[in-house]
């Protein structure tokens, strides 16, 4: 694992670089894929941009809200570059909400926009895997398999490698499906199902899963729920497409 890339006097944090690369690749793919789904690329790109900005600001503000008394004494710390002082879950929620509201106000077609964004989501998944590989996060359970890697004091499943392989597979499937004629939302829902199945499989090998009860890993239960919803929605939309033709 190489969390730091030392270039002379400059120490670059590789996980952050991979995530930035993911955003760059994602933005490039949005421009490329939007016309295919008859979505204005510039509007969709600006929606992604505002969503990201809102997510970052929201994550910092949400973190600061937990420690209001501390931040009131030093408000300039709100602009700190320290990645540890963010609330990621709240940031994602705020970013998605802002993107959704802007999308509605600019009358972007909901499902077609999600389809146009799907290759970006899939590509970003690969870069998240690389970020995990460089930081050693999302590590596996101790294992005796021949391909186990030495990490955090034990030989473990290389879950970061599994994650990258599954994400590449999902990207390949999405890349193939994006040219298949179907109904709006199909591509996004197909990726959502693939992502849920990937997480379901992967989580079984993870050594850092949050556990709910009886040893059940909560990300797997969430993945099952996402999968069930995805199956139901894609079926309903396929019926509408068939009956509406």
């Amino acid at each position: 694992m190489f969390p730091i890339l030392q270039l002379g006097p400059v120490a670059l944090q590789l996980p952050g670089l991979f995530l930035l690369a993911g955003i760059w690749v994602g933005a490039w793919l949005v421009d490329r894929e939007a016309p295919r789904h008859e979505v204005p690329g510039a509007t969709l790109s600006s929606l992604v941009f505002y969503g990201l900005i809102a997510g970052v600001i929201g994550a910092r503000l949400a973190y600061a809200l937990r420690y209001v008394n501390v931040y009131v004494q030093d408000p300039l710390s709100l602009f700190s570059l320290n990645l540890s002082t963010f609330a990621p879950a709240e940031g994602i929620l705020i970013g998605l909400t802002v993107a959704f509201v802007i999308g509605q106000r600019r009358r972007l077609p909901f499902w077609a926009s999600l389809d146009a964004l799907t290759p970006s989501f899939a590509a970003f998944g690969v870069l998240i895997g690389l970020a995990h590989l460089s930081s050693g996060d999302a590590y596996g359970t101790p294992a005796n398999v021949p391909w186990a890697i030495e990490l955090w004091g034990a030989r473990r499943h290389p879950t970061q490698v599994y994650e990258i392989l599954l994400a590449i597979l999902a990207l390949a499937v999405v890349w193939r499906l994006r040219i298949v004629e179907s109904f709006p939302g199909f591509l996004f829902l197909a990726w959502a199902a693939l992502a849920a199945v990937s997480r379901l499989l992967l989580e079984g090998f993870r050594g850092d899963s949050p556990v709910l009860f009886e040893g059940l890993r909560s990300p797997q239960l969430v993945s099952l729920a996402v999968l069930a919803c995805t199956f139901a929605i894609v079926h309903r939309r396929a019926q509408i497409a068939r009956d509406g033709a």
Binding site: E38, D74, P109, A112, V180, S182, H235
Partner: protein
């Protein structure tokens, strides 16, 4: 989530004519729309997923990832015994029961000097609440004289230990200076900050939850 009707009115700009409500049904649509077949496929996949979820459930006692010491969040902080700058020894595990900040630094490292005053202020404000700061000087790539001069210059009152052989730096897999570990009262690492400098606010928010826990 908006309804399909509301969300698919189509863009009114740049593209020209609004898109049709749906395209002609494709083979894909027809396949998925067939109720019995789709229900069977969905049920099969969900049952397989459920079986894997049950099969891969965490065994009793296996829920804590950090029983083995390792320098990452969720694991027990690797122990060390090092000489103190002012004489005597310090063993990290003997600080169990207190919230501990382990900061690895060197006197020649600009971000280290930039964050030291903040560490000192946080220490002074919180030591009565059970905070300990252990500043590990990476002496194997620094010097004891420089470390002592540095401590005097900044008026540091917390513990400064000397890692002469690099043993502690290796145990903590030091890759950047400064690197800071926030350790709870049970000796578990709760946060790692690679690089710096950290502001006083950042340090205070990081220790706040550790100090409020029993």
């Amino acid at each position: 989530m908006p309804s399909a009707t509301a969300s698919e009115r189509g863009p009114s700009t740049q593209i020209g004519a609004p898109r049709p409500r749906f395209r002609a049904p494709s083979t894909v649509s027809a396949f998925i729309a067939e109720r019995k077949r789709w229900l069977a496929i969905s049920t099969l996949v969900l049952l397989a997923g459920l079986a894997w979820t049950l099969r891969s459930a965490v065994p009793p006692g296996g829920t804590s990832p950090g029983q083995a010491p390792s320098p990452r969040v969720g694991f027990a902080a690797p122990d060390f015994t090092l000489d103190l700058l002012e004489g005597g020894e310090l063993t990290l595990s003997e600080l169990r029961g207190k919230a501990v900040v382990v900061n690895l630094w060197a006197s020649w490292c600009p971000p280290c000097s930039a964050e030291m005053p903040a560490l000192e202020r946080v220490y002074e404000a919180n030591r009565d609440r059970g905070l300990e700061i252990v500043a590990v000087n990476t002496t194997f790539q620094d010097s004891e004289g420089a470390a002592a001069e540095f401590a005097q210059e900044f008026g540091l009152t917390f513990s400064i230990v000397l890692d002469r052989t690099g043993e502690a730096s290796r145990a903590y897999q030091l890759r950047a200076l400064p690197t800071t570990f926030f350790i709870d009262r049970r000796g578990m690492i709760r946060e790692v900050v690679l690089g710096g400098p950290m502001s006083e606010t950042t340090i205070q928010t990081m220790i706040e939850k550790l100090l409020t826990e029993e």
